[in-house]
């Protein structure tokens, strides 16, 4: 298993896509966090009590999770795309070990992405609020909790993307589905409880909602914004995300990875 993980690690860092996506993620997080910090400033300026709007620190897991998910998906779909599964399986013929090595190898990578996202949120969010003369909320333990658990949520997203890629195989299909689901489908589904409150018990298990629950977010698409409805606790969000990883990985292994490589 350890040689297979070393192999996956080298594959990841020997092409350019990882740092391109990392830079995109940092730029996007910086943009969103700065924007929301400004919104918080003006909302509080027009009379919203301080602290009720929330903080920008949990935003990466709400808005930018498509980046770690894509990086995870590429780790396996690029092998299908460039037919490098042949050398991969020649080196490690037991395919369950290959999938396991990819998942384990993606954990530290996902954590690095998450830490980078949280550091960006901290610097840009805290910086913007400070420059505007607002309370940065960095005195609150919950802000730091959001930053730490937000990094964990991003790491979980890397694993969800990877196991989803194992199932889908096609690079284009995996990325298109991830983008459409995260940017269109889930945001629409998340609005359903506004009309049908009972649906919130289903919607809170959507992957984006689970990630937000772990990161302490929820103010963006608002699972928790319906009266009397609570989202998952952080640990519930983490378990839900882990369940997605497990289901995608097992189904991906059985349905996709055991196929003939021709």
């Amino acid at each position: 298993m350890i040689p297979a993980i070393a192999s996956e690690n080298r594959k990841f860092f020997s092409t350019r896509i990882w740092w391109i996506l990392l830079l995109c993620m940092v730029a996007y997080v910086a943009f969103v966090v700065a924007l929301i910090a400004v919104v918080i400033h003006f909302a509080e300026g027009v009379g919203a009590p301080q602290g009720t709007i929330g903080t920008p620190y949990s935003l990466p897991a709400s808005m930018a999770y498509v980046f770690p998910a894509t990086i995870g998906a590429l780790a396996i779909t690029s092998e299908y795309r460039h037919q490098t599964l042949t050398p991969t399986f020649l080196a490690t013929p037991r395919r369950g070990i290959v999938l396991g090595a990819k998942l384990i190898g993606a954990v530290p990578i996902g954590l690095v992405l998450g830490v980078m996202a949280s550091l960006t949120a901290l610097a840009v969010g805290g910086g913007t609020l400070g420059l505007l003369g607002d309370d940065t909320s960095l005195g609150l333990a919950s802000s730091w909790r959001d930053l730490v658990l937000g990094a964990l949520a991003m790491a979980m997203w890397t694993l969800i993307g990877l196991s989803f890629g194992a199932l889908v195989r096609s690079q284009v299909a995996a990325i298109v589905i991830l983008l459409v689901f995260s940017q269109v489908v889930e945001p629409i589904l998340r609005m359903v409880p506004m009309g049908v409150p009972a649906m919130s018990h289903v919607v809170k298990f959507l992957p984006g909602a689970a990630g937000e629950a772990l990161a302490g977010g929820g103010q963006v698409y608002g699972v928790g914004s319906v009266e009397g409805v609570v989202g998952l606790p952080a640990w519930g969000g983490a378990l839900t995300m882990a369940a997605y990883v497990a289901v995608f990985a097992v189904v991906g292994y059985v349905v996709s990875m055991r196929r003939d490589v021709t």
Partner: protein, 296 residues
């Protein structure tokens, strides 16, 4: 020693490989021949655990590929020259394989230099020519210094100098006692390299044995030119000779040149050329694989 036992692969109703039982011996270069679509690549992929056989087994010294403790140390394979990430350098490609092959990183540069890719080691594979990819593919196969080599169309894309180099190297590897199997759809490509050949047609082994024996089993072909082709065709039909068209007249298989000359003289037919061709090996190959088109 690679042993195939009843190896079979069906894709739906199509039988790509049909009950193949062959031993590939060490110390020799074995040519694995057949037209495109004869089942060569599928056979190699089954032997390497990439494609699941419908029936039968392929074992290396008694173990299937998946049972090998460190597969790249036992079997080196190069399947096609396209299995590279275009954005990865040649050296990095090998470095991704070094940990599971359990070889030190320094070995990667060593094999690159051995296959003549030393100067291109830090270039992205996307910029490589087909010939350079063929060399890199071979370098991956040699990384674990394995006693068995399975190479699919190894000279594909190589220039004449590269082909000559590949031949010398394969001979040298076999001389060290390794099992070397090279596939090709062209007999001429393995003619100067292989000791034994396995000829595949429509998924079945139609010939297994030495090249020398195949050559002597080939049908004799005599090229005949005559100013009166219709008369010669009638003569051939009367005597039961097999006649085929040829740019210079007819290609006659069966009788010797002397028999053809005597019969033509007896029938009063003038001949301008009467030449026995030494392409009997190619003829035998074509006869064995006759009528097999590519699988669509």
């Amino acid at each position: 020693m690679l042993e195939l036992r009843g190896l079979t692969k069906r894709f739906g109703r199509l039988t790509a490989v049909d009950d193949l039982t062959i031993d590939i011996s060490p110390g020799r270069v074995t040519g694995f021949l057949g037209p495109n679509g004869a089942g060569k690549t599928t056979t190699l992929r089954m032997a390497l655990g990439l494609v699941k056989p419908t029936a039968g087994t392929a074992t290396f010294d008694g173990k299937t590929y998946r049972q090998l403790a460190i597969p790249m140390r036992q079997v080196g394979a190069s399947l096609e020259a396209t299995s590279f990430h275009p954005g990865r350098t040649a050296l990095n490609h090998l470095l991704t394989l070094a940990p599971p092959a359990r070889v030190p990183d320094s070995r990667c540069m060593q094999v690159l230099e051995f296959v003549g890719l030393g100067p291109g080691a830090k270039r992205r594979v996307g910029q490589f020519s087909l010939g350079m990819r063929a060399r890199l593919s071979l370098a991956s196969a040699l990384l674990g210094d394995p006693p068995t080599l399975l190479l699919d169309e190894p000279v594909n894309g190589l220039d004449p100098e590269g082909i000559a180099w590949m031949r010398r190297m394969l001979r040298a590897l076999a001389a060290e006692g390794r099992t070397v199997l090279i596939s090709s759809h062209l007999l001429s490509e393995v003619y100067q390299t292989a000791d034994d050949v396995v000829i595949l047609s429509r998924g079945r082994a139609v010939y297994t044995g030495s090249l020398v024996d195949l050559e002597s089993s080939g049908q004799r072909v005599t090229v005949v030119s005559t100013p009166d082709p219709p008369a010669f065709a009638r003569l051939a039909a009367r005597l039961g000779w097999q006649l085929a068209g040829h740019p210079e007249g007819y290609a006659v298989s069966g009788p010797t040149a002397a028999e053809i000359g005597d019969a033509a003289a007896g029938a009063g037919i003038v001949l301008h050329q009467l030449a026995t061709r030494s392409d009997s090996l190619e003829t035998a190959f074509l006869a064995l694989t006759e009528g097999q088109g590519s699988i669509r």
